[in-house]
């Protein structure tokens, strides 16, 4: 169900659509400077921290959330098909375990990366067929760039 979250900010009331039920009283959010915010919910006060760097990063009660600019959906924590085939961070390609044309099962190990002294396995999010490779062993790869292509339809 889509409903509206509302908040007083600097004496003005704002609303945003969120995909879960919100309370029927608006929050009061007071910027305190230096990324600190006072969040008042009924009588209860909490201190939150937030910065905007494209997405908004929010710290509240020991949890951290990355709220994307679109604001209406939240970034999924579990990787989707596209990001699953990218390096999560700058990393070195240690080894490539598949070749173009090869069929792979779900969770098959495709590529092994290394970053910060740790091995990072890149696995197939679903069964499919490798159509092309976009990296080679020893290469330093950046996040957000697809390492290989899989056709899930065949």
């Amino acid at each position: 169900m889509t409903s509206t979250t509302r908040a007083w900010i600097h004496g003005r009331l704002f609303g945003a659509c969120v995909s879960e039920s919100a309370g029927d009283r608006p929050f009061d959010v007071v910027p305190l400077g230096q990324g600190r915010f006072q969040l008042i919910d009924g009588g209860r006060r909490r201190t939150a921290f937030a910065v905007v760097a494209g997405d908004a990063w929010v710290f509240l009660d020991g949890r951290v959330f990355v709220v994307p600019t679109s604001g209406q959906t939240t970034r999924r924590v579990s990787a989707d098909d596209a990001t699953a085939l990218m390096a999560p961070m700058p990393a070195t390609v240690v080894s490539i375990h598949v070749a173009p044309g090869q069929r792979v099962d779900r969770d098959a190990l495709l590529i092994t990366l290394e970053a910060m002294k740790m091995e990072l396995p890149i696995k197939a999010p679903r069964a499919g067929r490798v159509t092309s490779l976009a990296c080679h062993a020893g290469e330093l790869v950046q996040p957000g760039v697809r390492l290989l292509e899989i056709d899930y339809g065949t």
Binding site: L13, V18, R25, A50, V51, V52, V58
Partner: protein
């Protein structure tokens, strides 16, 4: 005492040693790679020397670069910290050859205790129990099974030359052992080129309990009590505490004496840690020597908070030839300390994270100590390990320390990269942690349920704060002051001006 001391390390431990030097009136010399040109440890030291490019192999792991830096800066001593070259006997030798004091044990002791087989023999001879086990001379399946039967099931079969958990197989009965032997042998050959197997008794759900030892150059060796480090993921410790919740005065006295005996037998000097596996509870619990770490531990602050002394200062004083200022009987424990390691890692997937610390504010409250190697604006790179800071909470009781750690973690905002703080917050509230019912498999067993508690999306309160951040801050990424609202940037929030609700 030394006039100038070089720290052959980076991050929080380099900062820790710099602070100790400053209090002691010793000039500190940092070393830095290109990635650390303006890192906190580089900027806090009195002097700093570049030792190479960002790659650790060419900088913090380069003995010649470290020695050159010490020579060129006029340092008289080298503190290796932990990790990197801290347990490398060649650095210790090179320091001595260059006329520098190495703040750690002599090179031959590093070498001796670095060999698990030799260390085990020394421990056994010193009267410290070891996990029963052997490398059968006859490596046939039958001989290995016989050895397992003699040791007593359950057993662990593992590559004799191995490490890091590779090729380790459990065996629970002689009848079902041959498959485990075959598989372990195959993996041993694949990983180490040697199929020789070692059989030892499997300690099913042990605690990791270690003893801090200090040894001076005047014959005094003492222990500074235990630390329990059972909360670990793939041998990476996450939470440490002291005292251990299962320790009794009688057991502590026995284990402490065993740790001191091992250190004495090894000819140990300076600060070191004797690690044990502990099985069972109470006075009758069984402990087994695991290994000795010939350096300062990451988790040394919990000992400092409870014993009321400064281990880094003690290290430097020992290395300068001073006798230990304490006797064993003068050392006492007071209260309880818990350390939570704050890593730059995704709290669910545990993948290390790199990026800028857009906002980083350490909590400041009574009983809480933060040992950190970063500051707001620091950039976390892929080159080194992802430890950002250690949060140490002290309390009169374990429960007070636990609540204090929890309050501090909830007031420790780090934005810009993901950290494990959300996981630590859940962990400290887990019923088994609250009860102190720990073993080294804790995170293997409970990790999934902890992660599940973190998989929920942002609640409306979080969205309200996100909207406020967008609406009010011109340069919030840098933690700047709030500004008047930029009304053009209010999307996606819709102004409801005039609508009272």
């Amino acid at each position: 005492m030394f006039k100038r001391l070089l720290i052959a390390n980076r991050g929080e431990i380099a900062v820790r040693v710099i602070r100790a030097c400053r209090e002691m009136g010793i000039e500190s010399v940092a070393v830095y790679s290109d990635a650390d040109r303006m890192s906190l440890h580089t900027t806090l030291a009195d002097r700093a020397v570049r030792i190479g490019p960002s790659s650790a192999a060419e900088s913090y792991l380069s003995i010649s670069a470290i020695i050159d830096a010490a020579r060129s800066s006029g340092a008289q001593a080298v503190h290796p910290g932990y990790g990197f070259l801290s347990e490398n006997q060649d650095l210790a030798s090179a320091c001595v050859d260059a006329g520098l004091a190495f703040i750690g044990p002599p090179a031959d002791v590093i070498s001796t205790m670095g060999s698990k087989i030799v260390a085990r023999r020394i421990a056994r001879e010193a009267g410290a129990p070891v996990v029963p086990g052997e490398t059968p001379v006859d490596q046939s399946d039958q001989a290995i099974a016989a050895a397992a039967t003699a040791i007593g099931f359950p057993v662990l079969i593992k590559p004799s030359e191995g490490g890091g958990g590779i090729g380790m197989k459990e065996g629970h009965a002689a009848a079902t052992l041959s498959a485990a032997i075959a598989q372990a042998r195959r993996e041993a050959i694949a990983a180490f080129g040697d199929g020789t197997l070692y059989v030892e008794r499997l300690i099913a759900a042990p605690r990791h309990v270690e003893f801090q030892v200090l040894a001076d150059h005047h014959g005094q060796v003492l222990h500074v009590f235990e630390r329990e480090c059972s909360i670990q993921r793939r041998h990476q410790k996450v939470i440490e505490e002291t005292p251990s919740t299962v320790m009794t005065p009688q057991l502590r006295a026995r284990m402490g004496a065993a740790a001191v005996a091992v250190a004495r037998a090894a000819g140990y000097r300076n600060a070191g840690t004797v690690e044990f596996l502990l099985e069972g509870t109470g006075d009758s619990a069984r402990y087994y020597f695991l290994e000795m770490n010939t350096r300062l531990q990451v988790e040394h602050p919990v000992t400092e908070q409870v014993a009321g002394l400064d281990l880094v200062r003690a290290q430097i004083r020992i290395a300068s030839g001073e006798p230990l200022p304490w006797t064993q009987d003068a050392l006492t424990q007071r209260g309880h300390a818990i350390e939570a390691r704050v890593y730059a890692e995704d709290p669910i997937s545990h993948l290390p994270q790199a990026g800028p610390l857009l906002l980083y504010r350490e909590p400041s409250m009574p009983g809480v100590r933060i040992d950190s190697g970063v500051a707001e604006g620091s950039k976390i790179t892929v080159h080194y390990d992802p430890l950002l800071a250690k949060l140490v909470a002290w309390g009169e009781t374990r429960e007070i320390a636990r609540r204090r750690a929890l309050a501090a973690l909830r007031a420790f905002p780090i934005l810009g990269i993901k950290t494990n703080i959300p996981m630590l917050v859940e962990l400290l509230q887990h019923p088994r942690f609250v009860d102190g019912a720990l073993d080294t498999r804790f995170l293997d067993v409970e990790g999934a349920s902890l992660a599940a508690r973190l998989s929920t999306g942002p609640t409306p309160d979080v969205l309200a704060v996100a909207a406020a951040a967008r609406a009010t801050t011109a340069t919030p990424a840098a933690g700047g002051a709030s500004r008047d609202i930029d009304h053009s940037s209010l999307d996606p929030w819709t102004s409801l001006r005039g609508v009272r609700v």
